[in-house]
């Protein structure tokens, strides 16, 4: 209970700093531009809405999580880390702030679109059914960014994981390459952890929950918990050396 209270205190503090320092302007401008360019005028359906916002929120999750982690790498963190908040609370706090910011921005985009240019096939219940896998993908990507941060993993491990991701993601381009037959088994092996994210994206756009669709959010959640747990374990075992300003 005390641990949760401390986590909430640190999350609220970091979120307040993110807002007061003006860093959140980047996200706000991005939201307005995105909405103005893609969602304000054109006639769109729910599938298009979730395809566009699905990609946009992932890009925003990438940026915001990286920005929050760079905040966490400042020497101000030493004072926080020596409190009973501990390393777990510190890293989770940064992660939750990133999620809150991205979710808020998604809510802003959704509110603007529903108010000013509602998708022609919009239904509230279907909207919420799509929101779940979409936001779980945000949580999943943010947890991956946390795991890949300099705060959590040493450079060698980060490079290794990035190489694994590259092999898993760039399969289409490698089909043309003569080395593909060597890479193909690795690609098959490495791409399976991405399945929940891919399936989650598809579920958000199609809203087709038949045929085991309900397991996809569970898989997204499980993978998110796994990644964030790995990040916490690694962070607890590492030397904390924060950057000088």
């Amino acid at each position: 209970m005390f641990a949760l209270r401390r986590l909430w205190t640190f999350t609220r503090f970091t979120l307040t700093e993110y807002i007061r320092s003006g860093r959140i302007i980047v996200e706000l401008v991005a939201v307005i531009l995105f909405w103005g360019l893609f969602l304000r005028e054109w006639t769109i359906g729910s599938e298009q809405f979730f395809s566009l916002t699905g990609i946009f929120t992932l890009l925003m999750a990438l940026y915001t999580t990286a920005a929050l982690l760079s905040l966490g790498e400042r020497p101000q963190g030493y004072v926080m880390l020596t409190r009973p908040l501990g390393r777990t609370g510190y890293l989770l706090g940064l992660y939750f702030v990133a999620l809150i910011v991205v979710l808020t921005m998604f809510a802003v985009v959704s509110a603007l679109t529903i108010t000013f240019n509602r998708p022609f096939d919009f239904l509230w219940n279907e909207f919420f059914m799509s929101v779940v896998p979409l936001l779980l993908n945000v949580a999943l990507l943010s947890s991956l960014i946390v795991l890949l941060s300099a705060l959590v993993l040493p450079n060698v491990m980060r490079l290794f994981l990035l190489a694994v991701l590259a092999i898993a993601l760039y399969s289409q381009a490698w089909h043309l390459s003569p080395v593909y037959r060597f890479i193909e088994p690795l690609q098959s092996l490495f791409s399976w952890p991405l399945y929940p994210a891919m399936a989650g994206f598809k579920l958000a756009t199609s809203r087709d929950w038949t045929g085991g669709g309900y397991y996809i959010p569970l898989a997204q959640l499980a993978l998110t918990v796994l990644l964030i747990s790995l990040a916490l374990i690694s962070f607890k075992r590492r030397d904390v050396i924060l950057r000088n300003q």
Binding site: R83, P154, D239
Partner: protein, 324 residues
Amino acid sequence: MAEQAIYTSNLRKSYGSLQVLRGVDLEVLQGEIWGLLGPNGAGKSTLMHLILGLLKPDDGTIRVFGVEEREQLSTRIGYLPERPHYHNQFTGREYLVTLGRLSGLGGKRLHDRIDTVIDLVGLGPSADRRIGTYSKGMRQRIGLAQAVLHEPDLLIVDEPASGLDPAGQREMGLLLRTLSETGHTIFVCTHQLTEVARLCDRIGVLVGGKITQTSSVAALHEQGHSITIRVTDLPLETANALQALGPEVRYDRLSVTIFPTSDALLAAVLRQLLDDDVAIQAIVPEADALEQFYLNAVHDGQAAASAPAPSTTEDLLETLIEDR
């Protein structure tokens, strides 16, 4: 006898191939102010961060109040970092409220405690201004306020007088002394000898990755001053004769230093120099016992260490961040 607040044994820490600590043995007793001295880059901050649990040792033991797991002790430890980096977007009071809550304080007790520490460090009405507008001295004050807010039993203080004017330094020393008198154990890292002389009960010098010497400050004060005799050129035979006078006599080609000094020893050295027709240029009562203690420890430690120390703490941290 007082119980141990900090105990380390054979503590080792390397960053890649760079050995920073090579077996640090340290014992700080509860209620004392223990000063850690050492040249830049000697590993003082590394030792502090190991004690705080921010770094993991390669080898050796660290116990704080008899416990090895430091996260269990975070409510009993306060930390004032060397560089006063705090969250500029918050007022001093807002910052203290957050840190108090993180330390398990709340409600009226938290706000009463905040008022107390604001008074204690002399922050006054500035507590309601944003930290971004603070001078370096005020940042040092808010730093001390956050460090003592949760009434820790052990205060770890890195260069407390850094950036303060002489009056501020004196005030900071008095504050730490007041805290010590109320039962806090204070482990202070500094390279200001005057600060150490005014503040500490015991000191140790970290050089070459080890604490080479420890002493009580009171005992050093009793030893008085050193005397340095400057000469034009010290012949080898004279040097050998001086060496026979005892370990208090140190020399190089152009000077002879006696520490701790005594009239009899000074007379014996002068007699030897005059007998050997060594030209004396000056006799200088040069350093007090504390300074000489420090210089001797650094000299001995550097001679004993086989690998060169990194040039500065900043260089070391830069190397670490790049390696990471």
